[in-house]
C-alpha cells in the first residue's frame, strides 16, 4: 500500500518535473511545477509530516507560484525558440558521466556501513504534528525564526522598491516604447519632482491646452443634430 502510494506520488513528481523542463511555454512549465509541489506535499503526508505538507501547499503552490503565474501573464512571456545544439559532442559524454555517477551512488548505498539508510518505514512518532513543530520553533530555534522574519521584511522592502515606477523620468523624456505622445515634452516648469499627482494634473492640462490650440475652429460638432 505504501509502496504503491510512493510510486504514484514519486512518479507524478518526476513526470511533472520532466514536463516542466521540457515545455518551452513558461505557463505550462509553471503548471507542471505546481503539480510537482502538490505531489511533494502528498509525499510529506506519507512521511508523517502533515504540517510541512500544508505549509508547502499554502506557501509554494498557493503563493510563490501564483506570483510566478502573475508575472508570466503580465509580461506575456513567449515560448522559447528551439535553438540548434552548439556542442553536440557533449551529450554522449554527459550521459556517460551520469551513468558513472549513478553506479557510484548505488555502490555506496550497498556498502555495509550504509545500512542505516535501509531503515524501513518512518518511525511512528508525533514529530510532524503542529504542536511539536511549534515547540521547537519557539524554544530551541527561536533565533532562526526571528532572523527569518527580518529577512522577509527585507524582501518586502526590496520588492516594493524594485517594482516602483519613477514617473518623473517618463514624463521628462516624453517617449515610451509603445506610446506616441501627441505633444512635445512639457517644459520643466510643469514637472515637480516627487509630487506625481500634481505633475500629472499639470501635464494633462498642458496637453488639453495644446490640443485645443491645434484644433481648427470646430465646436459645431456637438451642436449639429
Amino acid at each position: 500500500m505504501y509502496t504503491f502510494l510512493f510510486i504514484l506520488f514519486g512518479g507524478m513528481a518526476i513526470g511533472c518535473a520532466v514536463a516542466m523542463v521540457a515545455h518551452r511555454n513558461p505557463l505550462y512549465s509553471a503548471i507542471s511545477l505546481i503539480g510537482v509541489f502538490v505531489s511533494l506535499a502528498c509525499l510529506y503526508m506519507m512521511l508523517q509530516a502533515p504540517f510541512i505538507a500544508a505549509v508547502q501547499v499554502i506557501v509554494y503552490a498557493g503563493a510563490i507560484m501564483v506570483l510566478v503565474v502573475f508575472v508570466i501573464m503580465l509580461l506575456n512571456v513567449e515560448e522559447e525558440v528551439r535553438r540548434p545544439l552548439s556542442l553536440r559532442y557533449l551529450v554522449p559524454i554527459g550521459v556517460g558521466l551520469a551513468a558513472v555517477l549513478t553506479a557510484e551512488a548505488a555502490f555506496i548505498l550497498k556498502l555495509p556501513g550504509a545500512s542505516r539508510v535501509d531503515m524501513l518505514g518512518p518511525q511512528p512518532s508525533d514529530v510532524g504534528l503542529t504542536a511539536s513543530i511549534g515547540t521547537g520553533l519557539f524554544t530551541e530555534y527561536l533565533l532562526p525564526f526571528e532572523v527569518t522574519s527580518i529577512l522577509i521584511l527585507m524582501a518586502l522592502v526590496g520588492a516594493i522598491t524594485l517594482a516602483r515606477r519613477t514617473t518623473v523620468s517618463r514624463l521628462a523624456t516624453g517617449a515610451d516604447a509603445d506610446f506616441k505622445p501627441t505633444s512635445p515634452a512639457p517644459p520643466d516648469a510643469v514637472i515637480k519632482s516627487g509630487d506625481t499627482e500634481a505633475t500629472g494634473r499639470a501635464f494633462a492640462k498642458l496637453q488639453i491646452e495644446q490640443e485645443e490650440a491645434a484644433l481648427p475652429a470646430s465646436g459645431g460638432e456637438e451642436g449639429t443634430r
Binding site: 509554494y60 539508510v117 510532524g128 518586502l156
Partner: protein
C-alpha cells in the same frame, strides 16, 4: 514499508532535473522555476531524514528554507520585471552585459 534510500534517490533525481533545467533554459522565469525545483528536492531530503530519525530539526529547517524561498521569489521576480522593463526581453543570453 519504504526504505529511506528510495526517498533520497527520488530527491536526487528531482535535483538533477532541476540542474538540467537551469543549465538548459534561456528564459529567466524558467530558470527561476528550476531553482525552486532544486530547493524542493532538498526539502524532501530534510523531511525524509527528520521522519525516519524522529528529529524535528529537519522539519524546522524545511520551514526556514520555504520562507527563504518565498522571500527570494518576491525579490527575484521584482528584478526580472525590472530587467524586462528595460530590455523588452527575458533572454538571459542577451542580458550578459550591463548596458542595454
Amino acid at each position: 514499508m519504504i526504505p529511506l534510500s528510495w526517498y533520497l534517490a527520488l530527491s536526487a533525481v528531482l535535483f538533477t532535473i532541476g540542474v538540467v533545467g537551469v543549465i538548459t533554459k534561456r528564459n529567466a522565469i524558467s530558470m527561476f522555476m528550476c531553482i525552486e525545483l532544486m530547493l524542493n528536492a532538498v526539502n524532501l531530503t530534510f523531511v525524509a531524514f527528520s521522519s525516519y530519525f524522529g528529529d524535528v530539526t529537519g522539519q524546522l529547517f524545511v520551514f526556514i528554507v520555504m520562507t527563504v524561498a518565498a522571500a527570494e521569489a518576491a525579490v527575484g521576480l521584482g528584478i526580472i520585471i525590472a530587467i524586462f522593463r528595460n530590455r523588452e526581453s527575458l533572454n538571459v543570453d542577451e542580458a550578459s552585459v550591463l548596458r542595454l
